[in-house]
């Protein structure tokens, strides 16, 4: 019956998490593993009916849950003792508690996985609604679950989400358009610095002003700035392909953080005191970036600032509406209605305007939004509003990119990736198509960058080095080039390994060391080995599963060609790429 290999490996990941983190982790992990099994069941071609889906989810959930039960036992009976940590106590001793916790975990995994996989194999609206309800409910209540279980994971989940959004953006460039970009962190930096300059007093302060723009406006400006730089940096690469393109983007990726480091003393622009302009803050970067606040506009310096903000909000709303229509209106071949996208764009615009007038009316009056200050400002110490904000940005990105993939432009990217010359012969404007890939890909790093700056409150050039570009590229490749669920999973795995698991493992080893007075262990820092582990994982992946964890059907077809392909007379999957472009025929 069915293939439960997937459930087994998901369970192993859960087991590792439970053993490293401990406490009531198992229930959260059970929910997450259930969700992952359910979501990825959509990629399984052997499932056709909701019943088959439910059975697949239940079987895999059961296997994963059983593996996690073993993890809970190991944690409760062995590691908890080593670390001298309190065991998970449900009032029936360590063993009994572990068994009960594990059984609850199995039930959670099975229920979530089977309901979600069943929903995945419904059709049309029923599918959207059921999958949306399960995933939506989880995302909505995640902060409450997190608090209830005493995990405090939100601080890690937020940066994971930021990087997933970046990976989704890079996926447009690399996965859809097939342009290998090794300097993507440059656009992340441009987004973050645009936001930093506009929503802190770093620049305006030098001109004796306290001009600061609201986050809600700045996030669009940052996205637009990143997109513009996407075009500017993309333009010189137009005639290049493959390796050459990669090297040029690598160069850009190096230049941008260096520029941001060095643009801290521009002689030919003088500030109010006659000093050279400090544009980017140099090595220490920009700090005191204003957090977002609800209501969207909360205070004014005077009527002029109010008018400026009003005009900018209208402009931004119109621009957003135009963008949504313009880009998504292109799916005439697919026959998709554009009504939905127009409605979404319209609502977005209305929301912005509403936020403006609402804010204008109540000014600095107290508004009871949990986790924000009296004036509605997001607090750096309270993660919940940040979490919801990044979920909204994430949801928007997934929706937008998914529509984009199926649009006319998405098809043009696909054709261009397959064969540029043939694409041009089909009437595809290669220049426009490539530049749009760079621009739209960069746009999402603009969103991510603006959020990143506001969330941390300060940005430094060292956050945007080459290693970030590689990290983001690895997420895209590990998960599965060109496939949105794959990229999300890849991002989840890589970033959580990087900022979550290794840190928790270091903590755990420290506890074990202090409990057993083992000095060798006390000096061991698991996070020092991140790059090595990373390298090993990538090498293994490329050897075993080069198409990524959750490949798009196309890549799977290419890299795991079955017998029926080779049996055909003179099959030529690749000889079409043997292109004698520059030599006369």
């Amino acid at each position: 019956m069915g293939n439960v290999r997937f459930g087994f490996w998901a369970g192993i990941a859960g087991l590792a998490t439970i053993m490293i983190v401990g406490g009531k982790t198992i229930w959260m992990v059970a929910l997450i593993i259930g969700l992952i099994i359910g979501l990825l069941s959509a990629n399984n071609d052997t499932l056709h009916t909701p019943q088959q889906g439910a059975r697949f989810g239940a079987m895999n959930g059961l296997v994963a849950g059983a593996v996690m039960l073993v993890g809970q036992l190991l944690r409760s009976l062995w590691i908890d003792n080593l670390a001298g940590q309190p065991v998970l106590e449900l009032g029936m001793g360590a063993f009994g508690s572990a068994i009960v916790a594990g059984l609850i975990g199995i039930v959670l995994t099975v229920v979530v996985a089977s309901v979600l996989s069943a929903g995945q194999h419904l059709s049309g609206l029923a599918r959207t609604l059921s999958v949306g309800a399960v995933v939506g409910a989880f995302l909505l209540f995640l902060p409450q679950i997190d608090r209830g279980l005493g995990l405090a994971w939100l601080g890690d989940i937020i940066p994971i989400m930021i990087f997933i959004i970046l990976a989704l953006g890079l996926n447009i460039v690399v996965g859809y358009a097939g342009l290998l970009d090794l300097g993507y962190a440059a656009f992340f930096a441009i987004g973050a610095y645009t936001a930093g300059m506009l929503s802190s007093t770093h620049l305006s302060g030098q001109f004796a002003s306290n001009f600061q723009l609201s986050f809600w406006l700045v996030i669009w400006i940052a996205a637009a700035a990143a997109a513009v730089f996407g075009v500017i940096l993309g333009a010189p690469t137009l005639p290049l392909r493959g390796d050459y393109l990669a090297i040029v983007t690598l160069g850009f990726g190096e230049i941008v953080p260096i520029l941001f480091t060095n643009l801290d003393s521009i002689e030919w622009i003088k500030t109010a005191n006659g000093d050279p302009l400090n544009l980017t803050g140099g090595d220490p970067g920009i700090s005191a970036i204003a957090p977002p606040s609800l209501p969207i506009v909360h205070s004014f310096d005077g009527s002029l600032a109010m008018i400026i903000q009003l005009i900018s909000f209208v402009l931004v709303a119109l621009a957003a509406l135009y963008l949504v229509r313009r880009v998504l209106d292109e799916d005439r071949i697919a026959g998709k209605s554009t009504t939905l996208t127009t409605v979404v764009g319209g609502l977005l615009a209305l929301l912005l305007l509403y936020g403006f007038f609402y804010g204008a009316k109540i000014g600095d009056a107290t508004l009871a939004i949990p986790g924000t200050s009296g004036a509605g400002q997001f607090l750096p110490t309270e993660r919940t509003p940040w979490y919801y904000l990044i979920i909204v940005i994430f949801g928007f990105s997934v929706f937008f990119i998914n529509r984009l993939r199926r649009s006319r432009l998405g098809r043009a990217w696909m054709a261009m990736r397959e064969d540029e010359l043939a694409a041009a012969s089909m009437g595809i404007d290669l220049v426009r198509t490539k530049l749009l890939a760079f621009a739209l890909g960069a746009m999402f790093s603009g969103f991510g960058g603006a959020f990143y700056g506001a969330y941390l409150g300060s940005i430094t050039p060292s956050s945007f080095q080459f290693d970030k570009s590689v990290l983001i590229l690895c997420m895209v490749i590990l998960g599965g080039l060109g496939n949105i669920p794959g990229v999300i999973l890849g991002g989840l795995i890589i970033v959580s390994a990087d900022i979550f698991f290794l840190n928790r493992l270091t903590d755990l080893l420290k506890q074990i060391a202090s409990n057993s007075n083992n000095t060798a262990l006390a000096d061991f820092k698991a996070s020092d080995y991140r790059l090595m582990l990373f390298g090993i994982v990538l090498v293994i992946m490329m050897l075993v599963r080069p198409e990524g964890l959750v490949p798009s059907a196309r890549r799977r077809a290419e890299l795991h060609a079955d017998g029926d392909v080779t049996k055909q007379e003179n099959t030529t999957v690749f000889d079409v790429e043997q292109d004698a472009q520059l030599s006369p025929e």
């Binding site: 696909m414 397959e418 041009a424 392909v565 055909q568 007379e569 043997q578």
Partner: protein, 237 residues
């Protein structure tokens, strides 16, 4: 007025002078073939017409309007479609998606559907493999797909570059019969071939290319009876 006309066209690859003053015409409803040996400039001529390798000198005009300064993707809009050398189908797109790409510039959805039916009538094999990836097709099927894809753009003139390349003789015959049918249904065709015998068999007129120049032009029948052509390209003594 000729549908397609080249006047004294010179095309270069870098410093290499590939076409040295080509002039030719294609009338509406004709099959015209360009024959010649390797490196004679046959494919370059097609690339020049379709705008992929623009000429440095000379004129290319379609229905009397110059198209030699227009970028390749816009030439497609004007009705010049190419089935390129080496077929160049999209290997990781399905047969249906490949055909849809051929109609990329068109927005008349209903006609696209009926054009696709017409392609399936011409090539029933493609219909059987409609959801298979292009890269998994055999050479002959890929050639059919490449021609079908070009037809999806509703060409005024269809440029076919070596449709016989790498195919078994039986398949070559089949493909050439279909080319004849396509022409009979009203599509003008400019056919580049190394297989001169087959090409002259279905063409109305022909041009013989040698090192970037046209050395002979005549009706297909006359060319196939010409002694030089027989010796050089038809393998007859």
């Amino acid at each position: 007025m000729a549908l397609l006309e080249l006047k004294d066209v010179h095309t270069y690859y870098g410093n290499i002078h590939a076409l040295k003053g080509i002039s030719l015409t294609v009338e509406k409803g004709e099959i015209v073939t360009l024959i010649g040996s390797n490196g004679a400039g046959k494919s370059t001529t097609l690339r020049t017409i379709s705008g992929i390798t623009p000429p440095r000198q000379g004129q290319v005009s379609l229905e009397g309007k110059r198209i030699d300064q227009i970028p390749a993707h816009k030439v497609v809009n004007l009705g010049v479609l190419q089935s390129p050398e080496g077929r160049r189908i999209f290997p990781r797109l399905t047969v249906r998606e490949n055909l849809e790409m051929g109609a990329f510039t068109r927005t008349d959805k209903d006609n696209i559907a009926s054009d696709m039916d017409r392609v399936f009538e011409l090539f029933p094999r493609l219909k059987e493999r409609v959801s298979q990836y292009g890269g998994t097709l055999s050479g002959g099927e890929q050639q059919m797909l490449a021609i079908g894809r070009a037809l999806m753009g509703r060409p005024k003139v269809l440029l076919l570059d070596e449709p016989s390349m790498g195919l078994a003789p039986v398949l070559v015959e089949q493909i050439f019969n279909i080319i004849k049918d396509i022409n009979a249904q009203g599509t003008t065709i400019l056919l580049v071939e190394q297989n001169a015998l087959m090409a002259l068999g279905i063409a109305h007129r022909g041009y013989v290319l040698q090192t970037g120049q046209i050395v002979l032009s005549d009706s297909a029948k006359a060319l196939s009876e010409n002694e030089t052509v027989q010796k050089a390209y038809l393998g007859m003594e």
